[in-house]
Symmetry: C2
Subunit: 517 residues, 2 copies
C-alpha cells in the first residue's frame, strides 16, 4: 500500500460509535448526536441547544414544508408566546390536557437582594402579575381568539394560517430532539365554513406530511387515524403519520387535527353565512416539530454514526484534499475546489443545486474523514497526489460500508452524481421500508398478544395489527399493562371482518399496537 492510500485509509476503529445499536440503542442514539455534533443538553432543565449541523437539518425541514404550505394557500403569521390563563381555561378538555406541564410566568422583574446568610447579592423575582401567563404549549387558544376577531363573514373563510415557533411543555423525562421541554415546530391553524372543507384541509396536510417524510426524509410512515384515547385534547379526529425506527419503536412524526366546532364555540369564531345566518366555524390544527430530527436519526443511522438522506443533508458531498506532501498541496486543493465548482454549476438534485463542501481544514486526513462519516454526509470524495494526473477521485457512499470505495474519473462523477444521490435516497427508503414491513405482524389471539409484549425487556417486539372494537377505557387498561399504545387505525393494512382481540365482538376495524417514544 503506498503512502497516499495508507493516509486515506487511516485505520478505522471497529465502529465510529460506541456502543453499537445492538448493544445499547438509547445510548447509541445519544452518541450519534454527539458524534455528528447535532445538539446537546443545556443548563436549562430539559432544554437543548441545537448546534449548527442539527439546526441545518431543521432548516431543511422548514424550507420544504414552508414552500408546500404556501403553495397550498397558507400564510405565515406570529402570535404571542405567553397565553393568559383565562384563555386556556375556555376549552376545558384542552386546558386539562396541558395543565400539568406548563411553564408559568408570575413576575415581571428581578430585584437584587442581599442574602443575610451568605452576604451575597441574589436576584429574586419581583413585580407579581395579577394574572399569570403560561408559555404556549400549543396555540389553539390564543390563535382562536385572534380568529374570532378576524372572521366576520363567509368571505373571510377559509382562513389558512401557519406559525413557526417555539413551544414549551414541562416534560419530566427528556431526550434530545424526541422529547424536550422547549421545542421548535410549525403549527397550522385554519378556520372553514363547513365540516367538509375543514376535514379536507386536515387530510390535505396529513397527505403532505406523508409525502414529506417519504420523499425527503426517506421514512415510510404508516398513516392513519388516532383512537379516542390518543386524540389531541379537544379534537374530533386526529390523523397521524407513524414512523418505525430501528429499535422497532414507533414515533408519532406529524399530526393533523379536525377540531370540529369545539374551539370555535369556546372562542366565538362565528361568521355570517351566505344564507344570512350566523354559524360557528370548523377549525383544524396540525404540526410537526424538531422531534422529526430525532426520528430521522433513529430511522437511518448506523454504528458509524448519522446517515442522512441526500434530500435533507445540509451538505450532500464533501470533498477532502489528501495532502501528504507539502509540494503538491496547493494543486490538490485547487483540483478539489475546481471539482466542487463544476459540480455546483452542473449538477442538480431534488430541485436545487447540489450542495458541496471542500474541507480544507488543517487536520489529519483520517480524523477528517471520520468526522464526515459521523455527520452522515451522503457522498465523500477524496483527491490525493496520484489523482492529479489520472484525473480520478476516490468516492465513498454513506449508505455503504465504510470500507467500500470506488475510483472514478472526474468526468464520471460529474455525470453520475445526480443518479448516485438518487440511488442513496432510494436505498435508504427501501431499507426503512423493509424494516417496517418485516416488523408488523397480524395478531387475532389475545394470549399470543399478551405473550408478545411480555417477553425479553431489551428485545423490542414487532408491532401488532389487531382487530379492535374495545372502549376507550379498555384500550387504556391494556396500554398501561404492557406499556404499549394503539398508534393508529391504519388507512392501509385493513384486513376486513374479524373478532376484536379483547372483546371478541365482530369488527372490521384493525389497529396497530406498538411501543413508542
Amino acid at each position: 500500500m503506498d503512502k497516499t492510500l495508507d493516509y486515506i485509509m487511516a485505520k478505522p476503529p471497529k465502529n465510529a460509535i460506541t456502543p453499537t445499536r445492538a448493544e445499547d440503542f438509547p445510548e447509541w442514539y445519544q452518541q450519534v448526536i454527539k458524534g455528528a455534533d447535532l445538539a446537546e443538553n443545556s443548563e436549562t432543565r430539559g432544554c437543548m441547544v441545537i448546534k449548527p449541523w442539527g439546526f441545518a437539518l431543521w432548516e431543511g425541514v422548514k424550507e420544504y414544508l414552508d414552500k408546500r404550505f404556501k403553495e397550498t394557500g397558507h400564510e405565515n403569521a406570529y402570535f404571542p408566546l405567553l397565553i393568559p390563563i383565562a384563555h386556556l381555561e375556555k376549552e376545558a378538555e384542552h386546558a386539562e390536557g396541558f395543565a400539568t406541564e406548563c411553564a408559568v410566568v408570575t413576575h415581571h422583574r428581578l430585584e437584587a437582594k442581599k442574602d443575610e446568610a451568605t452576604g451575597k447579592t441574589k436576584m429574586i423575582p419581583s413585580g407579581k402579575l395579577t394574572e399569570p401567563y403560561v408559555i404556549r404549549p400549543t396555540s389553539e387558544t390564543i390563535i382562536g381568539s385572534a380568529f374570532s376577531r378576524w372572521v366576520e363573514s363567509y368571505r373571510d373563510l377559509p382562513l389558512l394560517i401557519n406559525q413557526w415557533a417555539n413551544v414549551m411543555r414541562w416534560e419530566m423525562r427528556t431526550r434530545l430532539f424526541l422529547r424536550t421541554a422547549e421545542f421548535l415546530w410549525q403549527e397550522g391553524h385554519t378556520a372553514h365554513a363547513t365540516k367538509d372543507e375543514a376535514q379536507a384541509e386536515t387530510k390535505l396536510i396529513h397527505t403532505l406530511y406523508q409525502e414529506f417524510l417519504n420523499e425527503v426524509l426517506a421514512i415510510p410512515v404508516i398513516a392513519g387515524e388516532k383512537t379516542e384515547a390518543e386524540r389531541f385534547p379537544g379534537a374530533e379526529n386526529t390523523y397521524t403519520v407513524e414512523a418505525m425506527v430501528q429499535d422497532k419503536k414507533a414515533i408519532q412524526a406529524g399530526t393533523s387535527h379536525y377540531l370540529g366546532q369545539n374551539f370555535a364555540k369556546a372562542q366565538e369564531i362565528s361568521f355570517l353565512d351566505k344564507d344570512n345566518t350566523t354559524k360557528h366555524a370548523h377549525t383544524t390544527s396540525w404540526g410537526v416539530s424538531t422531534r422529526l430530527i430525532g426520528t430521522l436519526i433513529m430511522a437511518h443511522s448506523d454504528d458509524d454514526g448519522l446517515v442522512l438522506p441526500p434530500r435533507i443533508a445540509p451538505q450532500q458531498v464533501v470533498i477532502i484534499p489528501v495532502t501528504p506532501k507539502e509540494e503538491s498541496k496547493d494543486a490538490i486543493i485547487d483540483a478539489c475546489q475546481a471539482l466542487a465548482s463544476t459540480l455546483r454549476s452542473k449538477v442538480e438534485y431534488g430541485g436545487s443545486t447540489v450542495r458541496v463542501k471542500v474541507d480544507t481544514r488543517e487536520l489529519q486526513g483520517g480524523a477528517k474523514k471520520w468526522e464526515w462519516v459521523k455527520k452522515g454526509v451522503p457522498v465523500r470524495i477524496e483527491i490525493g497526489p496520484r489523482d492529479l494526473e489520472s484525473r480520478k477521485v476516490c468516492l465513498a457512499r454513506r449508505d455503504q460500508p465504510s470500507s467500500e470505495k470506488s475510483f472514478l474519473d472526474r468526468e464520471d462523477v460529474i455525470n453520475d452524481l445526480e443518479s448516485i444521490l438518487a440511488e442513496i435516497q432510494e436505498n435508504l427508503l427501501n431499507r426503512a421500508t423493509t424494516l417496517r414491513d418485516e416488523n408488523i405482524e397480524e395478531c387475532t389471539d389475545l394470549s399470543v398478544f399478551e405473550k408478545h409484549w411480555g417477553g425479553d425487556e431489551n428485545a423490542q417486539p414487532s408491532w401488532l395489527l389487531c382487530p379492535w372494537n374495545g372502549t376507550k377505557e379498555e384500550e387504556e387498561t391494556l396500554a398501561k399493562k404492557h406499556k404499549i399504545t394503539i398508534r393508529c387505525i391504519p388507512e392501509e393494512l385493513q384486513k376486513g371482518a374479524s373478532s376484536c382481540i379483547l372483546t371478541g365482538d365482530n369488527t372490521s376495524q384493525w389497529v396497530l399496537w406498538a411501543r413508542s417514544y
Copy 2:
C-alpha cells in the same frame, strides 16, 4: 367619462388614512398598520399579533440577512428560551441592565382550584421551581455558557453563530413593532482569538446592516458609535445605524457590540492559543429586530397608507381585473393571469423573479384598489374591457400621487417593469435622504441648543450635530432635561476641531443629539 373609467377611478377619499401625518403622527402610524393589516395588539400585555402581510415583511428581512450572514461564514443555531437566573447574575452590568424588565417563570404547572367565593374552578400556578428562570431578554449569557464548552483551542475560533428567535422585555409603554414586550429578532454571537478580529467582525456586521437598510429598505442611515451612556450593558463598543423617520425622530435600527473580554471572563470562554498559553476570547454580539418594520413604516408611508420599497414588498405588482360587465369578465381575468405569468417568467428584479399577484376576489373595484394602496404595493395594474383589444393597461405607482396613472402597452410593461421598480426604489431612498439631510443642523452654541429643544412640543425639531466631550453624567443630565439622547458619534459628518457645546473644552468629536423612539 365612460363607465369603465368611472369604475376604475371610484371617487377616492381625501386621504385613505385618518388622521394625516401632519395632524397626528403617532395615531397616523397606528392607522397605517391597521389599514395595511400588518399587526394588532393581543390580550397578552404588550405583545402583538403579527398578521400575514406584516410577517411577510419580516420574512423578507430574514431572507436577505440570513443569506448575507451565511455568505460571511455564520451558522444558525438555537439556544434555550429560559435562562437560569444564576447565569444572568454572572455579568453584573448586564444583569442590572435587564433586571427591571424580565418575565420570570416560577412554576411548572397549573392546578384546578375551586374559588370558594364564586364557586368557579380556576387554574392556579403550582409546582414551584427551586430556581426560577427568566425568558431571554437577549442571549449573551446562555450562549456564552455554550461557547465556554465549545471553545478549547485557537482552532475552534472564530466561532460565528446566529440565532433567529423571540425575546421578551417587559416594557411599560408599548407600540406595535417599535416597542413590544415580545419581539422577534436575530442575535449574532461570535468569539475570536484576538481583539482585532472581534472588532473587524463587529464592523463587518455594522456595514452589512447599513447596506441592508440602504439597499433593501431604502432607508439612508447614519452610522456611528454609541457613547458610553448609550452602550449595550457590558459592551466595550456599540456601533449603531440610526434612521430618521418622517416626524424627524431617530430610531436605532441595528446594533453591533464589541464585548471585549468581559463576557468571556464572566463565563470562562478561554482557549489554548498557538503560543501554548490560555487566553480569554474576545466576543461580539449584534442584532436587528421586528422594530425594523416599524422603522420602515415610518420612513416611507404617506397619508394614503403604507409605502413599500419594491425590494422588500411581499408583492411587487398587483393586477386588478376591472370587470363591470359579466360577459367580458372571464376574458379580462384571463388577460390578467396571462400578463402575470409573462411578468413572472420574464422579469427579474433585485436578484429574484418579480412577485406578482392577480386579485380576483369578488369585491368592488374601488375597494380593492384602496386596499392595495393601503398595503403599499409598489405597482398597481388594472385591465378593463376596453383594454382587451387595445392590449393596454392602466398602471399606477405607489410612490406617486394616487391620482396619477399611465396607460401603457402590455409589451412596454413587460420591457419596463424592472426599471420602473428600480426607479421607485431609488425614488424612496432619495426622498428619505433629502428628509434626513435637510434635518440635521450644526450647533456649537449652548443657548441655541437649549432653545432648539424647548420649542413647540408638537413640532419635532431637527437633529443637532454638536462638538462634544462631556462626561457620561453630563450627557445623562442634558438628555433627561430635554428628553433627547446622543444617537451616535457619526462616522461621517465630523467637522474637525471645535469647542464642546457644554464644557467649552477643545474637542474634535462631533455627536448627534436627537429625540428618538
